[in-house]
Assembly symmetry: C2
Homo-oligomer: 365 residues x 2
Amino acid sequence: MNKKAILFKGNGTDASDMRYASGFAAPDDFLFLMHENRRICLVSPLEYDRARVSVLPGVEVRRSTASAVEAVKELCAELGLASLTVPGAFPLGLAEKLRGAGLEVVPAEERLFPEREFKTAEEIVKITASLRAAEAGCRRAIEILRESDIAKDRTLVWQGQPLTSEILRAEVDCTMLKLGMIPTGTICAGGLQAAQPHNQGSGVIPADFPVVLDIFPKSRTTGYWGDLTRTVVRGLPSDFMRRAYDAVLEAREFAKSCIRPGAIPSEIHKCAANILEKHGFPTGHDEHGDHGFFHGLGHGVGLDIHEFPRLSPKASTPLRPGIVVTDEPGLYYPDKGGIRLEDMVWISPEGKTVTLTEIEDEFVL
Amino acid sequence: MNKKAILFKGNGTDASDMRYASGFAAPDDFLFLMHENRRICLVSPLEYDRARVSVLPGVEVRRSTASAVEAVKELCAELGLASLTVPGAFPLGLAEKLRGAGLEVVPAEERLFPEREFKTAEEIVKITASLRAAEAGCRRAIEILRESDIAKDRTLVWQGQPLTSEILRAEVDCTMLKLGMIPTGTICAGGLQAAQPHNQGSGVIPADFPVVLDIFPKSRTTGYWGDLTRTVVRGLPSDFMRRAYDAVLEAREFAKSCIRPGAIPSEIHKCAANILEKHGFPTGHDEHGDHGFFHGLGHGVGLDIHEFPRLSPKASTPLRPGIVVTDEPGLYYPDKGGIRLEDMVWISPEGKTVTLTEIEDEFVL
C-alpha cells in the first residue's frame, strides 16, 4: 500500500506538528506536505529566505504566491497524488475547495505524530531550559511579594505603590523575556481570583490570601514550553488554607511517586483526589460554582503547552518511558481562594522518574 | 427564510470573531453558537466563572463537560437546528463528525462579521492605546541605540556589553508589558537581517546599517492590536540606504494622502510602488532572492493584527469610512539591508483621514 500524503496548513507557531516535522515556524500560514520520503514547505516570498535556513535537513522549501487551493492542486498534480490525509483541525473551507477540485481529503482520526509524546534527550534539554526560565520568573515574583509591606487595609504595597497582579506579572514576564522566552498567559492571581484556575489576576493583591503563580513560557528559539506553579502568601493565611496547602503538597508528591512506566493516568489522578478528600477537601459543585479539585492532575508538555499524555480522570493508556508531564493538583473555593502546586516530571528512557523542577516549595513569606 | 445558525469552535484568543461576537477570550477552545437572537457560549468548568463576567450583554454561558460533538448535538436538538454555518477555518474533523450525526455543516464563503472592518469610536480608542504602547517600546529602542557606543569593529555596545537584537527586543517588550500589552513578535533586525521583512533579528547589531523596529503589541485586556515600524541607524549609513529611506518616507506619505473614502487599495499600493521606482528602487527577483518592495502596502488592524481591508496589489474594493489600516512601504536588499516605515491611518465616520501614529520619524541617531 502506498502511504497517503499528509497535508498541513497552519503557521508553525500554533501548529506544532508542522514545526515538529518541518523545523520551521512562521507568524503567517504556510503549507507543508509529506509524501513518502519527501517533505515540502510552500511559503510566501516573505518567509522564503528564513524558511530555507530554518527547516530540518531534507525538507524542500518552495516560494509560492498562488492561493492555497491552487498551490495544493499543482503540487498534487506534480507528485501524482489524488488523496490527502490532513489533521483534524485542518480548515473545513480549504478542504471543501480541494474536494471540489477532485482531491480526496480525509481528516486523520488519530494524532499524526504520536511519537511526539516520547521526548529525545535533546528535547528534554530544551524543555528544562524553558522550565528554568519559569523558575527565574517565579523567584522574581516571590522576591517582590517578600519585599512587600502590608498596608492597614491588609493589601500589599511594593516600592511605595499598591502591588497589583499586573505589576507582579510584568516583572515575572520581563525576567523571562530577558532569558529568551515568550510569556503568554502568566497567572499571578491572589484573593478570591485564585479560586478560578484560569484567572490571570487583576488589581491590588491582598495580604493573607494565597497567590497562585502559574508560569509557562515558550522559548522563542526552540518553541518548547516550561510549566510551573507555586502558591505563596504574604501575611497570615487562614488555618483552612494552611491545611489546603499541606494537602495539595502531599497529593502532588504522592502522585509523583505513582508516575512510572505502566501506571494508568486516571488512577494517578484518583490517587491525588483521594488524598485531598482524606484531608477533608472533597470536590463538588454548589450554588457558588465548583469547588475542590475540579481539573485534571496534569498534561504532557513539549512543543505544545498541553499535549499527550493527559493525567485526567478519563485517560486509560499506561504511561511509557520518555514522557514529560505536569503534576499539578489544586484546591479552589470561591469564597476562600485557591492553591495549586505544579512540578514537571520526566520518565527517563531507563524508566526512572525524574523531577525536572528545581525551585523549592514555600508557602508563607 | 430562517437565518441559519452559526457555530464557532476556537479559543477566542486566536479566533477573534468569537471574541468580537461573544466578548469572551480563553486560552482553551470553547464553543459559541448564534441563532436568531440567541448567543450561547459552551465552556469548560475551568472557564465558567470567568466567562460569566466577561461575555457581552445577552450572551448565555453554559458549563459543558461533554465532547464537542455531543455538546453541539444536544444544543442543536434543544434549539431544533439541522444546519450550521461555520467559519472557513472550522476544524474539518469536527465538521465530519457533526455531519455523521446528521447535521448539515456548511463553511461560510464570506467573512461572518464584515462589519469588523468598520471601527466604532470605542474600538479606535482601544487600538490607539495599543499603538501608544508600541510607540513607548519604540522610543525605548531608539534611546538604547542612541546611547550605544560603536566598537572598533563597527558593532554596537550598550552598557559595556555587545548590543544584540535579543537584548534590544527584551527592552522593548518589557516596556510594553508594563503598559498591559502582550508582545508577540517584535522585530529588531539590523544588518542584512533587515532585508527579510519577517526576520525578528538575532545576534550583535552592527553600526552603519538600518535597524528595522516593527512593534505590534496586543492589549491583554481589550485584545486590540497596535502596529508601528520605524527604521533607524546608529553610525553612518551608506548613500544608497539614505536614498532608500527618503524614498520609503515619501512613498508612505504619498500613499497616506491617497487613503480616503472611495479609493481603490490596489491603486494606492501601486502609487507607493511607483514612487519607489521613480527614485530608482524597482522591485524584482534575482539569484539572491526578492528585492525592492515585495509585500503589500498595508492591512487592517483590530482584534486581528492582519484583517480587512488589505492595501495589496490585488485588493479592488473601494475604501469606506471607519477603516483602520497600516501604511507601510519598505525596501529590501539581501546584500545591503532593509528599510520599512509604518503609520496607522483611520478614515473617520466623516470621511476624514487621520494619522493615528504620533511618534516622529528619524533615521540617523
